[in-house]
Symmetry: C2
Subunit: 327 residues, 2 copies
């Protein structure tokens, strides 16, 4: 691997000049520029990222902290962000927290000493003081979705209350739905609670009745288990609003096992509009929130906040209802 010294030597100039030319900073004579660029080309010289990071005290890594990769929702998120970041020359430092505070802490620390320039954060376990610490270390942050919206930094959030409302209202109006249940994510998870608020609001506006709130872990298995347990002992509901698609797939499976027909006997709605929703049997009605262009929005916001004097912004994504076959 050629270094800047090799280039400088061959060009008969100092490394400072080479650096300037490559980065287009300061002045240089046209012939010098040409000579250097030719040598760079010949040697296939690429500045070493690590050295660059050290001297500039910033890398081109963007940390992406997420709780897991199992759910399609997150893998789709990672994908859209990776593509957007890549287009701008950033790379992704993947931080998979497994929803575990220790791993979150580990990653928050390594972010700083890897000189990542920004962090995209989706985690129950990140508190405002963690964001403060990151910003103090020059790492701009943007939280997505699950973390609170009310901290002092940039955030992108879906209006979960409205989403929950939309889902529930539609579910109720899609048939003779009178008695409904809400299948929530973990108790300490705020987006689920918000969706639940919207759910309650919709219930109060109609003559439907809220029967029970169930809890899952946002994965297909827990969706299956909790709904199977409940439905095999109770026949009192005809609609279930799920806090994400993965759990809804579990519900669909549980109903199939129990001989409950969707949407005739019971209607189901998910949340996220993951790719599978279009192809499940039956196809899942759901709430769509993230679209590919959000990757760009997130990366752009991170770049924007990095410039001093740029105030953090809050973004809200309007959830949209996607009607398919389960309602």
């Amino acid at each position: 691997m050629a270094t800047i010294k090799d280039v400088a030597q061959l060009a008969g100039v100092s490394t400072a000049t080479v650096s300037r030319v490559i980065n287009g900073k300061g002045e240089a004579a046209p012939e010098t520029i040409e000579k250097i660029l030719k040598i760079v080309e010949d040697l296939n010289y690429k500045p070493n990222s690590v050295a660059k990071s050290l001297s500039k005290r910033e890398s081109n890594l963007i940390a992406l902290l997420i709780p897991n990769l199992d759910s399609p929702f997150f893998s789709e998120l990672v994908r859209t962000i990776e593509i957007a970041a890549n287009k701008k020359g950033y790379q992704i430092y993947l931080c998979n927290s497994e929803d575990n505070r220790e791993k979150v802490e580990y990653y928050l620390e390594t972010m700083a000493d890897n000189y990542v320039i920004g962090a995209i954060i989706n985690s129950l376990h990140v508190k405002e003081e963690d964001l403060e610490r990151l910003e103090a270390n020059g790492i701009s942050t943007i939280t997505i979705d699950r973390a609170q919206f009310s901290h002092a930094y940039s955030a992108l959030a879906v209006d979960h209350i409205h989403g929950g409302y939309l889902a529930t209202k539609h579910l109720i109006e899609s048939g003779h739905v009178k008695k409904i249940a809400f299948l929530s994510g973990p108790k300490d998870e705020s987006s689920s609670q918000d969706r639940y608020q919207g759910y309650l609001k919709a219930v109060s506006e109609t003559d439907a009745e809220h029967i029970v709130k169930l809890y899952g872990l946002f994965d297909i298995q827990s969706g299956y288990e909790t709904s199977y347990d409940y439905l095999s002992n109770h026949k009192d509901i005809d609609g279930i609003v799920c806090s994400n698609d993965a759990m809804a797939y579990g519900v669909i499976r549980a109903c199939a096992d129990l001989g409950i027909k969707i949407p005739q006997d019971i209607k189901v709605i998910g949340y996220d509009d993951t790719v599978t929703a279009k192809f499940s049997v039956p196809r899942l009605s759901t709430i769509s929130q993230f679209k590919p262009k959000l990757g760009n929005l997130i990366i752009n916001e991170l770049e924007r906040v990095r410039k001093k004097n740029c105030k953090p912004k809050k973004y809200e994504v309007e959830p949209e209802l996607v009607i398919r076959e389960t309602t």
Copy 2:
């Protein structure tokens, strides 16, 4: 952020001593060690990874090059590897190639100048000479699955031929299956071709007949589209062997749309045993290959090969048949 200089100054020693003590290299007086460690503790000093990488010319990043994150197969792979890497103090540099040679090249280059210590590679577009270049730059490699098995470096592969054989044999024997089709991934994709070999072998051993080979893109949508197109024009098959689970879900959906009953009218088998397979309607019979412990195996192999004089090894994972409801 405290640096090694701060620690050295407070302890009244040189940075060299601090470095030695922290890394447990060379000798140091017990009191000196104690004093330094105390200050490290007090200051919450963490060595800067970037500086460390530069001076040692190696980071603790492991590159993970995969074609996409859409398919659960890859997101599960990323997850198991992230967990294994993390346990050993490595971090993941995520390289999502979108199955695109340009992005592959971009990432191969950035690997070297990020001083990643190893690369886990799954890509159609990586050739043996790319592996050579990586190794020449001190990056040990292990290819997984889709890339050829025959290069000079470490590799982990599933015996796709045997897997295809197992799947097909079971499909045929699970009912009165006489006329079957193979739903392949992209034409240039070797694992699919291997599975197809196994498929043909199984066909030849039974009285079933191979009718058609269809091509998809390994995703649910293409699985749906190709099978829908074929099945709406032909009623001549009663079994489909799919080259991965995602496409099998597409087939299931297509059959539902066409009023074809699974497994009564047609039997379907997938490949990968993704989490959803247990919960789809109907539950998908499939071939299981990667288990969580493979993450550890991969990371260990990467560590092993790094030591000079350690010859690359080839690993084969035995595919296993998982019988569910589609056969």
